[in-house]
C-alpha cells in the first residue's frame, strides 16, 4: 500500500469504516510513519468536534420555518385586498386604547395576519385579512396545505385568549388540494381575543374546540 493510500484511509479509520485487513495494515504503518500520525491527530480532532456538534433540531422543523417565511412572502405580495382596510380615525383611536385583537388587524400597519402551521399539519399555511363592519368584524381566511379531513371532520376557526376561552368564528371545509378561502364574521367582543386558531373538528356533537390545532397566529404580533 502506498504512502498516499495510507493517508487517504485516515478519515474512514476514525469513522470505523475500514475492513479488519485495512485497519491492521494502517495501524502497522502508523507505528513507523510520524507524518501519518500527525495527520491522524488532525483528523481525530475534527472528527471529535463533528461528533459533539451532531445533535440538531428535528428535521421537520425546517419545513415549518420555510412554510412560515413562505406565508410571509405571500402576505407581502398580496396587495389587492388592501381595499378592505378602513382608515377611519375613530377605529384607530379605539385600537390605540384597546391595543390588541381584531382592531389591530383592520387598522394597523400590517398587511394581514400570517397563520403558521403546527405539527398536526406541517405543510399548512394561512393568512387572515379583515375589515370592521359596524360593531362587528368581517374576516377573510385564506388557507393552503390543509390535510384532507376524514369522513365527518371539518375545520373551525377560533378567537382565543389566555385561560383557554374561545369564540368560534365559523366552520368550513377545504378543497381537495387543501386550499380554501372563506369569509366569516365575528362579534365586537372578539377584540379581546388576540389569538387565532384553526382546528380540525370531529363530528361528535361537542361544540367546544377539539384542540387539534392546524394553524395558529397571534394578533398581538401585528405591526410588531
Amino acid at each position: 500500500m502506498s504512502e498516499d493510500r495510507f493517508e487517504h484511509l485516515l478519515g474512514p479509520y476514525v469513522l470505523g469504516e475500514l475492513t479488519d485487513a485495512e485497519k491492521q495494515e494502517l495501524e502497522r504503518h502508523l507505528e513507523s510513519c510520524a507524518t501519518c500520525r500527525e495527520n491522524l491527530d488532525d483528523v481525530r480532532y475534527a472528527h471529535g468536534t463533528l461528533k459533539t456538534a451532531g445533535g440538531g433540531p428535528p428535521p421537520e422543523l425546517k419545513e415549518w420555518v420555510l412554510a412560515r417565511v413562505r406565508a410571509e412572502a405571500r402576505q407581502s405580495t398580496t396587495a389587492g385586498w388592501k381595499a378592505w382596510l378602513p382608515a377611519a380615525a375613530a377605529v384607530l383611536l379605539i385600537a390605540a386604547v384597546l391595543g390588541f385583537g381584531l382592531l389591530r388587524m383592520v387598522s394597523g400597519p400590517s398587511d394581514g395576519l400570517a397563520l403558521t402551521s403546527t405539527s398536526a399539519a406541517p405543510q399548512a399555511g394561512g393568512e387572515l385579512r379583515g375589515e370592521q363592519v359596524g360593531e362587528n368584524f368581517k374576516v377573510e381566511l385564506e388557507a393552503w396545505g390543509l390535510p384532507e379531513p376524514r369522513a365527518g371532520e371539518y375545520y373551525e376557526m377560533w378567537y382565543a385568549r389566555e385561560g383557554g376561552e374561545r369564540i368560534s368564528c365559523g366552520t368550513f371545509q377545504a378543497q381537495k388540494d387543501g386550499h380554501t378561502t372563506v369569509n366569516m364574521s365575528a362579534p365586537a367582543s372578539a377584540v379581546a381575543y388576540p389569538e387565532v386558531e384553526v382546528t380540525l373538528e370531529p363530528d361528535d356533537g361537542d361544540p367546544g374546540s377539539s384542540g387539534k390545532v392546524v394553524l395558529k397566529g397571534s394578533l398581538r404580533n401585528l405591526g410588531a
Partner: protein, 199 residues
C-alpha cells in the same frame, strides 16, 4: 433518501458553493433556497445555544424558528462590514433566547426546569461555543468537502452509502472525507470562529 437530503439535492450548486454573506444577500432578495442553505449550515448551533441557555427542547425549537424567521425579515439590514453572518445570527439567537426566557418567567416553572444560563453577556457553556465554531468552519469549506462531512456526521451515512447517493466512487469518497477532516481542523484553528461568537 432522507427528506433533508432530498431538499438539499434540489438546491442549486451555486447556492451550495456560496459564502454565508453572499447567501444573506440572496435572502434579502427573497431567495428561499438561500435561507434553506443557511438553515442547513446554522440550525445546529442555534439549537445547541437554545438547549444550553434554555434547557428545554420546545423552547430551543422555538428559538430556531424565531431566529431564522428574523433572518428572513431582517436580511436587508445585515451589514457585512460590521460582523460576519455567524456573529449576526448568534446575536439574534441570544437576544431571542433572552425574550423566551423572560416569557417563561411569567409562568410557574415545572420540576426540573431552570432559568437562563449565562445571559446576558456571560461566557457560554463550552458545548454551545463548539457548535458555532464547527458550523462556521464547515461553512468555509469547499462545498464538496462540506457535503461528505454532513452526510457522514449529520445524516449518519456510511462511506458506501455516500458513494451510492452521490454517484462518486467509494475510493474518492474515502480520500475526500480525509481531506475534508484535515481542512476542517485548519478552519477551526483559524481566527474566524472566535469572531463568530462576538468575542
Amino acid at each position: 433518501m432522507k427528506r433533508h437530503q432530498r431538499a438539499k439535492r434540489g438546491i442549486g450548486q451555486e447556492v451550495r458553493r456560496a459564502g454565508d454573506e453572499d447567501l444573506i444577500g440572496l435572502v434579502a432578495g427573497g431567495d428561499e433556497r438561500a435561507l434553506s442553505e443557511l438553515y442547513d449550515r446554522y440550525s445546529r448551533p442555534v439549537y445547541a445555544t437554545g438547549m444550553r441557555l434554555l434547557g428545554d427542547t420546545q423552547l430551543a425549537e422555538e428559538l430556531v424558528q424565531d431566529a431564522f424567521t428574523s433572518v428572513w425579515r431582517s436580511a436587508a439590514s445585515f451589514d457585512p462590514s460590521r460582523a460576519s453572518f455567524a456573529t449576526w445570527l448568534y446575536r439574534i439567537a441570544r437576544n431571542r433566547a433572552t425574550d423566551l426566557d423572560r416569557r417563561r418567567r411569567v409562568r410557574p416553572r415545572s420540576a426540573g426546569e431552570h432559568g437562563l444560563y449565562a445571559l446576558p453577556g456571560g461566557p457560554l457553556p463550552e458545548e454551545a461555543v463548539d457548535a458555532w465554531d464547527v458550523a462556521n468552519a464547515l461553512s468555509r469549506l469547499p462545498s464538496e468537502h462540506r457535503e461528505v462531512l454532513e452526510l457522514a456526521y449529520f445524516e449518519d451515512l456510511s462511506q458506501r452509502e455516500i458513494s451510492r447517493q452521490t454517484g462518486i466512487p467509494l475510493g474518492t469518497i474515502k480520500s475526500r472525507t480525509t481531506a475534508a477532516l484535515k481542512r476542517l481542523r485548519q478552519a477551526i484553528a483559524s481566527p474566524a470562529p472566535r469572531e463568530a461568537r462576538g468575542e
